[in-house]
Subunit: 428 residues, 2 copies
């Protein structure tokens, strides 16, 4: 895909975004379920890879044409992204942009969990939730670099067959009753629990620990229970989590930890540590120790559908957004009359096989309902076309469905005029 | 010192105790301030070193004459100790029994903290309380094996000069106002806090952590505030400790952990892990990386005075009990009339120089008061001559003062008839 972009104010650095990663965090942002949601309208996305298009005056270590990946605080889902250098990393020569976008955030979280917080040792056992997700797959690969580690992977039954085929997970456990399932295999529990769910899972995970065991909370995806943000699901997720006294940890020989990459990077000035870790990850990639698992790639316009897939926990590995991809054909009319319309489309041969039609059908219906529900409070936090960006060139609509309903152009990924705030910060 | 002991029932293993270690935990036991205090009368002590005198029928890996160190659950302060093999470790050929008794427990705690729970890395900063104590000194030596670590050592002002002379501690901080002292040196806080005090120090320690910081509670010596166990000091120590939600750890990128070697060894079946760690410690000792700091050695009969020194936090390094040592001369009469008596003793030339007399005088007075106070509830948990052991041979009185008051023989360390309970367990 050819990019044609006017140079911006020369501060910070910016590059063409060739591939962006979609993370569960993005779902949380869309639902307004994070602690410091961005001012809307905004462009979403936390990671993207591409070539450097221009650099700011004071920028060192990067030049036009460099192949990089970046972790901007929002606005990654655009064709052109401006990012402070401290969030930008050179990628290995042989690594594709798609692999780069699929690697950085997932393996960062996984690496810090496995090697810096758990310090996983030979012979230990580890339980992880959402083992089929991008971070889950990254954790499995990194844990396998340590000899004789036993992995208990928790996910929905529907993924078991595909994940068993990887041969990397010792025990695939169904989400429904995982505590008893684990206890059936090992009465004494596990050495490590990695929890991205929060809520009741915190207490259950702690309860599954052996003496000297370590529990780490690194996400709160249990908050996302329905199509919209629910105050009650957030509150319940809080109430369900037992507070723990250090004296209890002392008596029981246990560790509790939390890891939040977003806070570390953007609120706690952890960029130097993250940069050093990214280098280690690329080193492992070069040595063939890790290989990102890409579930599927999506056009920017289809991000809503991609998000729905993640929301329904149907992905195995990473979802990647690719601005060069053509969006899937969509029914032009409201979802409610879609079945009739779709039938006529099928006749005209515009869509694929019957199976995929059914899938699309279901998705569209869900999205349609979803969009309707969101006209209230949630609509405000949905990413929309960015007014400033429109001046610069193409328009962005991160949520295709919502754009459709508003009759806004949903075709092109956007340049990002708002990014100048972080630029100023960096150059000051 | 020659040992002469009849062979016992052949189960478990036993050996002559040549040196025993005194730990803060022993003070807690004496005050009844642990969760599962032993049935009295008992013999105290958790570690000892010596030669194997006899082995049980099913014992493998040890033979008569082996030089070993052991971590029995109580009863270490005797001339002959029976210990299940899982708590016994061969010592390196060149290591003295005194060094063995001074090494095992302190370095075990220090090693597990530094390498297994913290996984201390290059460039990190670490704050530790009671830096002058046996474990404190062990932690400092082990932390120094990691490049470029900054050590903040907290202890009373009186020890600063002696500890500064070791050249191993970057910042010696007075206990009185350590939080502000640390903040003056580094506004951002530290990477690791190792807390053996508990109570308010838990909250203060957590507050001093940087993002990605780790706090570990590994003792509760703040409970020991006076000469006797105080319900209120124990309760206050509990109330003062804030409970923490895993969600707070997630938001702040922090870790909380507890470590309790006694629970790990005797309640949580952690002996295999401990044995492997002891081997690593002896490896470090052979490589000259660590060298136990011995504060002083004491006759078994003088254990009360040794405990008082530890209680007053006047030791730098380990206190060791040596059954071959002659006890210090003591006034034969009650403490109240001691000054007059002592004067006459001094005339008869039985005691040393004037300086040491004064020191002894003060101690004896303290112990005398102490003994009086203890006639109530605390007397019950004091270790006393063990009736069963008396049948076997010599009698043990771990607390010389209390024995004096009861007109029991306070002279000899004891063989230990009670040890058969753990023997049976091991052989079954």
């Amino acid at each position: 895909m050819a990019h044609s972009v006017r140079p911006w104010r020369p501060a910070g650095r910016r590059f063409c975004c060739v591939n962006s990663g979609l993370n569960f965090q993005d779902l949380m942002v869309r639902l307004g379920a994070i602690d410091s949601p961005p001012k809307t309208p905004t462009i979403m996305g936390f990671e993207c890879a591409g070539e450097v298009e221009a650099v700011g005056e004071e920028v060192e270590g990067f030049k036009v044409g460099d192949r990089v990946v970046a972790l901007p605080e929002f606005r990654a889902w655009s064709e052109l992204v401006a990012v402070p250098t401290k969030y930008v990393y050179h990628i290995p020569e042989e690594m594709s942009f798609q692999d780069a976008a699929a690697t950085v955030m997932n393996y960062l979280v996984a690496y810090i969990l496995i090697f810096d917080l758990v310090s996983l040792r030979e012979g230990k056992s580890i339980l992880l939730h959402s083992v089929g997700g991008g971070v889950g797959q990254a954790i499995v690969q990194l844990a396998r670099t340590v000899p004789n580690v036993t992995i208990f992977g928790v996910c929905s039954k529907s993924k078991h067959e595909a994940l068993a085929a990887t041969g990397l997970i010792d025990h695939l456990i169904d989400r429904a009753d995982y505590v008893n399932e684990v206890r059936k295999i090992t009465t004494e529990g596990v050495d490590v629990v990695l929890d991205c769910l929060c809520g009741e899972e915190c207490n259950r995970g702690y309860g599954l620990l052996k003496p000297m065991g370590k529990y780490i909370l690194y996400g709160s995806s249990n908050v996302v229970t329905g199509e919209t943000k629910s105050f009650f699901s957030v509150a319940r997720s809080w109430w369900q989590v037992d507070k723990v006294s250090p004296i209890k940890l002392f008596d029981e020989n246990k560790s509790l930890a939390g890891f939040n990459l977003r806070h570390l990077l953007y609120q706690q000035d952890g960029s130097a540590y993250v940069t050093a870790t990214v280098e280690k990850i690329f080193g492992l990639w070069k040595d063939g120790k890790i290989k990102p698992v890409v579930d599927s790639a999506w056009a920017l316009e289809d991000v809503a559908e991609a998000m729905q897939k993640m929301h329904d926990r149907k992905n195995i590995g990473k979802l990647v957004l690719d601005p060069s991809m053509e969006p899937k054909p969509k029914p032009a009319t409201p979802a409610k009359t879609k079945n009739k319309k779709q039938a006529s489309e099928d006749k005209s041969g515009k869509k694929g096989g019957a199976g995929s039609d059914k899938e699309d059908d279901k998705k569209s219906a869900e999205n349609g309902e979803n969009g309707e529900k969101k006209e209230g409070e949630e609509a405000a936090v949905e990413a929309k076309t960015n007014g400033d960006a429109a001046e610069e060139g193409a328009a962005a609509a991160v949520n295709g469905d919502s754009a459709e309903k508003k009759d806004e152009p949903a075709a092109a990924a956007a340049t990002n005029g708002d990014a100048t705030e972080s630029e100023k910060k960096e150059s000051s």
